[in-house]
Structures are given as structure tokens and as C-alpha cells.
Amino acid sequence: MIANYGYKDGSGEYFISVDTEKCTGCGDCVEACPYGVFEVVEDPMDPLSDDQVAIVTEAERKKIKYTCGPCKPVSDRPPLPCVAACLEHAISHSW
């Protein structure tokens, strides 16, 4: 499953996507993110399975544009800590 967390508003589209087929629930992204955007839980979209997956916390979903801002300067953009930490390449950002 491709889980897209975030929103679209007048200023643009801000989604963090987690590919749950690739995600192992290891939690490396949770450690890597300086702002606590991720958590690992039982897959909320598949209540009949016990698989652990990374999700974007409920509190951050409506403001990731702002929370992720410091990792995304307008120029000289370094690799994103969460994307770099994920060895399974399960995380991507839309903006």
C-alpha cells in the first residue's frame, strides 16, 4: 500500500508517502527525523494484520510543510534525513 500523509492547500501539495510493502517497521526513520514526524505502529489501514509499519503521526499530518521546513531550505538542499535513513527506500516526499 502507498500511504500518503499530508495535504494539499492553496500553497501546494505536501505529502510524505510510505510504501508499506517495503516498510519493515524497523523505526530507523523515527530515529532519524529531528522533529518526531514518524512513529511505528500496527498498520492502521489493515486492521486484520499485525504488521508494524511507519506512519506520519496524526499531529503532524496537517502541518508537515512547516515541520519539514528546516530540512528543506529553498536552495542547497541536503538529502532528507528520513529518506536517507530508510534502507528499504520506502519513504518519499512530494515537494
Binding site: M1, N4, K8, D9, G10, M45, D46, L48, S94
Partner: protein, 295 residues
């Protein structure tokens, strides 16, 4: 509940409840319930062995647990069933953790996917749920499992709340908006599709310029349709396609979404607002079976 056309509550829509008089629930092995407490409306669906038995659809009050109880009581009305007869209840929706009698809370995305699969059959692949304060685009497989999704609940554009703002501005009942918006000779240019506040100020200017209400509503319905199509396109659309939620009852939006996508939405056989609660009840059935197997 009879609609009071003189009321100033332009957001008010018709509440309803139903149960199948031909089904004897006492014969059933598993009685399950799904309770969807949304920001605007709450629904309860009761199923007997995975078959739809009863439902209710009403407004959410200021208190989530009370709203859940009210929706449950109204679904049970006239059935002879009591809350104690229900083996497993699932809460879903915005207020899902506040359903006092639910054994488990499940996210509305999973419930809508599952509910749409029940309502429209296994050929349904793309679901657009337009609720009171959010908009969800969901791709599902033939079993009703989520393949991909996105949800927009940060911004009022493309939600029922945005439509309420316009119903209020124009003094038109929300249930009449869709039809009225189609009473134009040709489609006007749309107002801002990205922000309800900006769309509202544009609409106020158009009204001052002398535009009739129908034309202003058309301009907003177009904007709203454009907005949700943009969300859908992020996921990709595959037929069959269906729209659920309260806005699915608004012909002005549905027809414009269909037109922009170039595909038709499946006609609903059930109240489009109960999709989430149906999914909840189906999960309740499945979870109870799983629990019984373990024992």
C-alpha cells in the same frame, strides 16, 4: 425529520434511519456494529452475519460519546435489539476513540475502502469520499483492502464545510445547492479552487456585480470539483469509480467531477453517508471471527 424550509439553518440536511423488517436478527450468529462519528454527521450500521440489518444517519452533536450513543439508539429503534445483543462494535471516523461501547477504533480510510467494496461490489477500484471536514481518495483491491490513499483534512476546500460556507453566504439550503448550481445556461469561470476564504470573497464580489445565485454556485461547484479531481489524480483513477459521503448527494458536484474526469461514478444503492459505518461493521464481524478462532 421534516425539512423546515423557512429555517435559517442552511446547513441542515435530512436525517434518517432504517431496518430490514424481513430479517430476524435473533437467528443470527454474529451481530456486529460500525459507528462512524464524523465531524458533521454520525452513523451506525448493524449487521447480522455480515448482512446489512439496520442503520441510522444523523448530525453529530458537540459531544462525541453522546453522538455515538444517539446514532446507536436510533439504529436500534423498532428492532427489539439492545446494545447488549451486539457482539462486537467498531468505532471509526474523526471521533472514533470516543465511541464508549466500541471494542476497537479503526481509521476511516480502512473502513471506507471496505464499506465501498460492500456497497458497490468487488469491481470498485477508486473511491472518493467527500465528508464534512475532509476529503479522501482511496484505491482498493477486489477484497476492499486499501492499495493507496490520501486524505486532506487540513484545508476546507473540497469538503462539506466549504459547501456550508457557500450555502450560508447565498442563503440556500445545502440540499438544494447541487440542483441550483446546474440551472445555468453555460458554466461560468470557477472561483478559487484552493481556498474557501478566497473563494468566498470572490463570490461576494460577483454577487455585488449582479451575478445570480445559480451562477455563483456553479462557479463554486466547479472549483470544488476541480479541487477533488486534483487530489484523485495524485493517486491515479481506475474504474469502477464511486463517490461516498454527504457531498455524493450533491448532483452539482458529482456531475462536474464526472465531467472533468471523463468517467461516470457508479450509482449508489445505499445512503452514501453510511459507507464508513458499513466498513466498521464488516471489520467488527471479521475481528470477532478471528477472536473466536483463537479461543
Amino acid at each position: 425529520m421534516a425539512e423546515d424550509t423557512t429555517s435559517k439553518d442552511y446547513w441542515r440536511w435530512t436525517e434518517s434511519n432504517w431496518h430490514d423488517p424481513d430479517m430476524d436478527w435473533r437467528e443470527g450468529d454474529i451481530i456486529s456494529a460500525g459507528v462512524d462519528v464524523g465531524s458533521v454527521s454520525s452513523q451506525t450500521v448493524i449487521m447480522v452475519d455480515g448482512k446489512l440489518y439496520a442503520y441510522s444517519n444523523m448530525r453529530t452533536g458537540s459531544d462525541s460519546p453522546k453522538s455515538a450513543e444517539n446514532a446507536m439508539d436510533w439504529a436500534l429503534e423498532g428492532t427489539g435489539m439492545t446494545l447488549d445483543d451486539i457482539h462486537y462494535a467498531v468505532g471509526t471516523g474523526y471521533g472514533r476513540v470516543n465511541v464508549p461501547f466500541a471494542k476497537r477504533a479503526i481509521t476511516e480510510i480502512a473502513c471506507h475502502a471496505r464499506g465501498a467494496n460492500f456497497m458497490y461490489g468487488p469491481t470498485i477500484k477508486t473511491v472518493l469520499d467527500m465528508g464534512g471536514q475532509d476529503c479522501k481518495a482511496i484505491r482498493v483491491d477486489q477484497k476492499g483492502k486499501v492499495v493507496s490513499f490520501l486524505m486532506n483534512d487540513k484545508c476546507a476546500a473540497g469538503t462539506g464545510r466549504g459547501m456550508e460556507v457557500f450555502a450560508d453566504l447565498l442563503g440556500v439550503h445545502i440540499t438544494k445547492v447541487g440542483e441550483m448550481s446546474l440551472q445555468v445556461d453555460e458554466e461560468p469561470p470557477m472561483v478559487s479552487s484552493t481556498c474557501v476564504v478566497f473563494a468566498k470573497s470572490e463570490a461576494s464580489a460577483l454577487l455585488r456585480e449582479g451575478w445570480p445565485k445559480e451562477k455563483v454556485l456553479a462557479a463554486y461547484c466547479l472549483a470544488m470539483a476541480h479541487r477533488v479531481v486534483g487530489l484523485l489524480e495524485r493517486l491515479g483513477i481506475e474504474e469502477d469509480f464511486a463517490i461516498t459521503g454527504g457531498i455524493a448527494k450533491n448532483i452539482g458536484i458529482v456531475s462536474r467531477v464526472e465531467k472533468e474526469l471523463g468517467i461516470k461514478a457508479l450509482k449508489p444503492s445505499l445512503d452514501t453517508q453510511i459507507a464508513g459505518a458499513i466498513g466498521g461493521a464488516l471489520f467488527a464481524t471479521a475481528l470477532l471471527k478471528k477472536e473466536r478462532k483463537k479461543k
